[in-house]
C-alpha cells in the first residue's frame, strides 16, 4: 500500500513538470508584447528595453522557463504587473474565497448526487427513477450561470429574501449574514456535480445490482442494509474518481458563476488576469490550480485503492 502511494507521488512529478511547461508555452503564445501593456506607447524604447532586462525577457526562452520554474519552486509566484502586489497574496485570498463556496457546494452536490442516483437505481424504471433522473439531467444540462441569474431574480430581486451579490461583511466569525450570501452561489455551483454524480451512481448501482455476487449475498440471507453496504462499497471507487474531478473544477472557481454573483474567487481572479493580460497572475493561478487538481486526484487514487484492493497492483 505504501509502495502504491509512493508510486503515485512519483508519477505526479512529471505530470506537474509537464503542466508547468504547457502553462509557460501558452503564455509565450499569447499575442502581443507584455511590455506594451506595462508602459504607455509614447515611452522611449530605452525604457522598454530596461524593463525587458529587468524581467529577464531578453533571455532565450528556455532560460526564461528555467528561471520561472526555479522561482516558483522556491515559493515566489511573481509580482502582478497590474497591481504590483505579490501574486501569492492575491491568489491565496481568491482561493480562500472560492473554498468558501466550493466546499459547501461539493458537500451538497455529492450527497444529493449519491442519494438521487442510488434511489433512482433502486427504484429503476418507476416514476421515482424518472423524477430523480430528470432532476439529474436538468442539473447537468441547464447552464448554471443562467440558473444563477434566475435564482437571483427570484430570491434577491422579487422576494428580496437573500442577497444576490458579493460575500457580505468582511471577517471570519461567521454569522447568518455571511451564510445568507453563500446560499445562492452554493446551490448554483452544486448543480453540475449533483447531476453528473447522480448519473454515474445510478448507472453503477444498476450494473452492480445485476451482478452475480448480489444474488449470492441474498442467498446468504443478508438483510437489506448489509447488502446495500456491499453495493455502495463497490460503487464507491468510480464515484470517488468523479468527485475528485468535480471538486477540482469547483476549486478552479466557475468564472461564470463567480461573475454572476460578483464573488471574488479564483474564477474572478483568472477572468481579471485574462482581461488585464496580467501574465504572472495568470500563469501562477493556472499552475497552482493544476497542482491542487493533481493532489486531489492522488488522494482519490489512494482512497480508491483503500476501498478496492484490486487497484493496488
Amino acid at each position: 500500500m505504501w509502495y502504491f502511494v509512493l508510486r503515485r507521488l512519483l508519477y505526479a512529478v512529471p505530470i506537474l513538470l509537464g503542466v508547468s511547461l504547457v502553462v509557460f508555452l501558452l503564455m509565450q503564445m499569447v499575442p502581443g508584447d507584455i511590455i506594451d501593456i506595462m508602459i504607455p506607447p509614447e515611452a522611449p524604447k530605452e525604457v522598454a528595453d530596461m524593463i525587458r532586462i529587468q524581467f529577464g525577457l531578453d533571455q532565450p526562452v528556455h532560460i526564461q522557463y528555467l528561471r520561472w520554474l526555479k522561482a516558483i519552486l522556491s515559493g515566489d509566484l511573481g509580482i502582478s504587473i497590474f497591481t504590483n502586489q505579490p501574486v501569492a497574496d492575491e491568489l491565496f485570498s481568491a482561493l480562500l474565497n472560492t473554498l468558501k463556496i466550493a466546499i459547501p457546494a461539493a458537500i451538497l452536490g455529492f450527497t444529493m448526487g449519491v442519494m438521487l442516483g442510488s434511489l433512482a437505481a433502486f427504484y429503476g424504471g418507476s416514476w421515482l427513477d424518472k423524477l430523480f433522473s430528470g432532476i439529474a439531467i436538468a442539473g447537468v444540462s441547464l447552464p448554471h450561470y443562467w440558473v444563477g441569474m434566475v435564482l437571483v431574480a427570484i430570491f434577491a430581486v422579487s422576494f428580496n429574501v437573500l442577497p444576490g451579490q458579493g460575500m457580505g461583511p468582511d471577517g471570519f466569525p461567521w454569522t447568518w449574514e455571511h451564510i445568507k450570501h453563500l446560499i445562492l452561489p452554493v446551490i448554483t455551483l452544486s448543480l453540475i456535480p449533483m447531476g453528473v454524480i447522480s448519473r454515474l451512481v445510478r448507472a453503477n448501482v444498476l450494473e452492480i445490482r445485476s451482478m452475480e455476487f448480489v444474488s449470492a449475498l441474498q442467498a446468504k440471507g443478508l438483510k437489506g442494509p448489509r447488502v446495500l453496504l456491499h453495493i455502495m462499497k463497490n460503487a464507491a471507487p468510480s464515484a470517488l474518481a468523479l468527485m475528485g474531478l468535480q471538486f477540482g473544477y469547483l476549486l478552479g472557481g466557475s468564472i461564470l458563476v463567480e461573475t454572476v454573483f460578483n464573488w471574488p474567487g479564483s474564477g474572478s481572479l483568472l477572468n481579471l488576469a485574462i482581461f488585464r493580460r496580467d501574465i504572472p497572475v495568470l500563469s501562477a493561478t493556472i499552475l497552482v490550480l493544476a497542482t491542487i487538481f493533481v493532489i486531489i486526484n492522488i488522494l482519490v487514487d489512494v482512497l480508491q485503492a483503500l476501498i478496492d484492493p484490486r487497484i493496488r497492483r
Partner: protein
C-alpha cells in the same frame, strides 16, 4: 464446536419420515416488456435428507431457474412462481421477507457456478463468511472468525489463517470454489443447492471439488440439489437424476437406471453424446436441432421437433408423467406404465 457433529438436530424426528423437500407442479414465468417466457412448466419432485438429486439438462432447460426458485432468488417483479415448494415443512412461496432471509443461508444454502463473480470483490473471504455466520447464528466477531477458520480447514484450504484475509482475486479458481463451499456450509444447511459448481473449473480441479462436496455431503447428511449439464459430473455425485428439457422433468430415476437403461429419447441422446471410456473408433452422436424457444413452446412434447421417434400424437399435448417403475418416471408417449 465440531462442525461435522453439529448438523442441524433434525434427523428423523423433525421430518417424521416425510421427505425434506417436496416440490409440486412448480412453474416459473418471466414477463418482460416484449416477451413472456415459461422457464419451468410443472416440475414435481421430492428429496430426502442426505440424498443427492441431480438435475441434468442443456443450458436454457430451466434447471438453474428451478434451483433459484427453491429459495426465491429470482427478480420478484418480473417473475411469477406457481405451484408448491416446501422445505422441512416450510412453505417457501408463502414466507415473508424476514422468514425468507432466515431460511436463505441458514437452512438452505447455495453454491454458485462462477466463484469469481459470486464473491464480492471488495471484501475479504473471511469477512464474507463471517457476515453470514453473524447474520444467522448471532456470533461475536471472535467466534465468527473462529468458525470461518474451521470452515476453511474443513474444505481443505491450505494456510487458512492467511486466506481469511485474502480478497477473492487473490485466490485461484479452485480455492475460491472451496471458499464458496465453506461459505455455503457455514450455517449447517439441511439443503444445499449447487448450481453447476464445477463448470467454471479446470478438469483436475473439478474432480477435487466434486470429491470434497461428496465427502462433506455424507459427513453432514445434507440433502443436495445439484444442477449440471455434464453427465460425467452427475454420475460422480448423484443418487438420483432428473433429466430436464424445456422446463419439464422428462425422466427421473435412480442414477444407475438412468445411465444404463435411459427411456426418454432425449436422455438417450444426452448419454450418446457424452464421451466416455470404450468409445474409441465410435462416432459421437449429437442430438439434432437446437433447444426449444421457451417464448414459443410447441403445444405437444417439447422434444418432438428433435426426436427421431416423433409421431403425430406427440404434437397433440405434452405427454403426462408415466411411472414405468415405482421410482422411475418418463414423460413420453412411448413409455409403458408398470403394472
Amino acid at each position: 464446536m465440531s462442525l461435522t457433529a453439529a448438523t442441524r438436530d433434525q434427523p428423523a424426528a423433525a421430518t417424521g419420515g416425510a421427505p425434506l423437500v417436496r416440490v409440486e407442479d412448480l412453474t416459473v414465468r418471466f414477463t418482460s416488456r416484449d416477451a413472456v417466457i415459461d422457464a419451468v412448466n410443472g416440475v414435481s419432485f421430492t428429496l430426502d435428507a442426505g440424498e443427492v438429486l441431480c438435475i441434468l439438462g442443456e443450458s436454457g432447460s430451466g434447471k438453474s431457474v428451478t434451483l433459484r426458485a427453491m429459495m426465491r432468488l429470482l427478480p420478484p417483479r418480473r417473475t411469477k412462481i406457481g405451484g408448491k415448494i416446501s422445505v422441512g415443512g416450510k412453505d417457501i412461496l408463502g414466507l415473508d421477507e424476514g422468514a425468507l432471509g432466515d431460511l436463505r443461508g441458514g437452512e438452505v444454502a447455495m453454491i454458485f457456478q462462477e466463484p469469481m463473480t459470486s464473491f464480492d470483490p471488495v471484501f475479504t473471504i473471511g469477512t464474507q463468511i463471517m457476515e453470514t455466520v453473524k447474520r444467522h447464528d448471532g456470533l461475536s466477531d471472535a467466534d465468527a472468525r473462529k468458525r470461518a477458520l474451521e470452515l476453511l480447514e474443513m474444505v481443505q484450504i491450505p494456510s487458512p489463517v492467511r486466506r481469511l484475509e485474502n480478497y477473492p482475486h487473490e485466490m485461484s479458481g479452485g480455492m475460491r470454489q472451496r471458499a464458496m463451499i465453506a461459505l455455503a456450509l457455514s450455517c449447517r444447511p439441511r439443503l444445499l443447492l449447487a448450481d453447476e459448481p464445477t463448470t467454471a473449473l479446470d478438469a483436475t480441479v473439478q474432480i477435487q471439488i466434486l470429491q470434497l462436496l461428496h465427502r462433506i455431503q455424507r459427513e453432514l447428511g445434507m440433502a443436495v440439489l445439484f444442477v449440471t449439464h455434464d453427465v460425467g459430473v452427475a454420475v460422480e455425485i448423484s443418487d438420483r437424476i432428473a433429466v430436464m428439457y424445456a422446463g419439464r422433468f422428462v425422466e427421473t430415476g435412480p442414477l444407475r437406471d438412468i445411465v444404463h437403461t435411459p427411456q426418454h429419447p432425449y436422455t438417450q441422446g444426452l448419454l450418446a453424446s457424452t464421451v466416455h471410456g470404450g468409445m474409441r473408433g465410435k462416432r459421437l452422436e449429437a442430438i439434432p436441432g437446437s433447444p426449444v424457444n421457451l417464448a414459443a413452446m410447441p403445444p405437444g412434447c417439447a422434444f418432438a421437433p428433435r426426436c427421431r421417434y416423433a409421431e403425430p400424437a406427440c404434437t397433440a399435448a405434452p405427454p403426462a408423467e408415466t411411472w414405468i417403475e415405482p421410482t422411475r418416471m418418463v414423460r413420453c408417449i412411448r413409455a409403458a406404465p408398470h403394472t
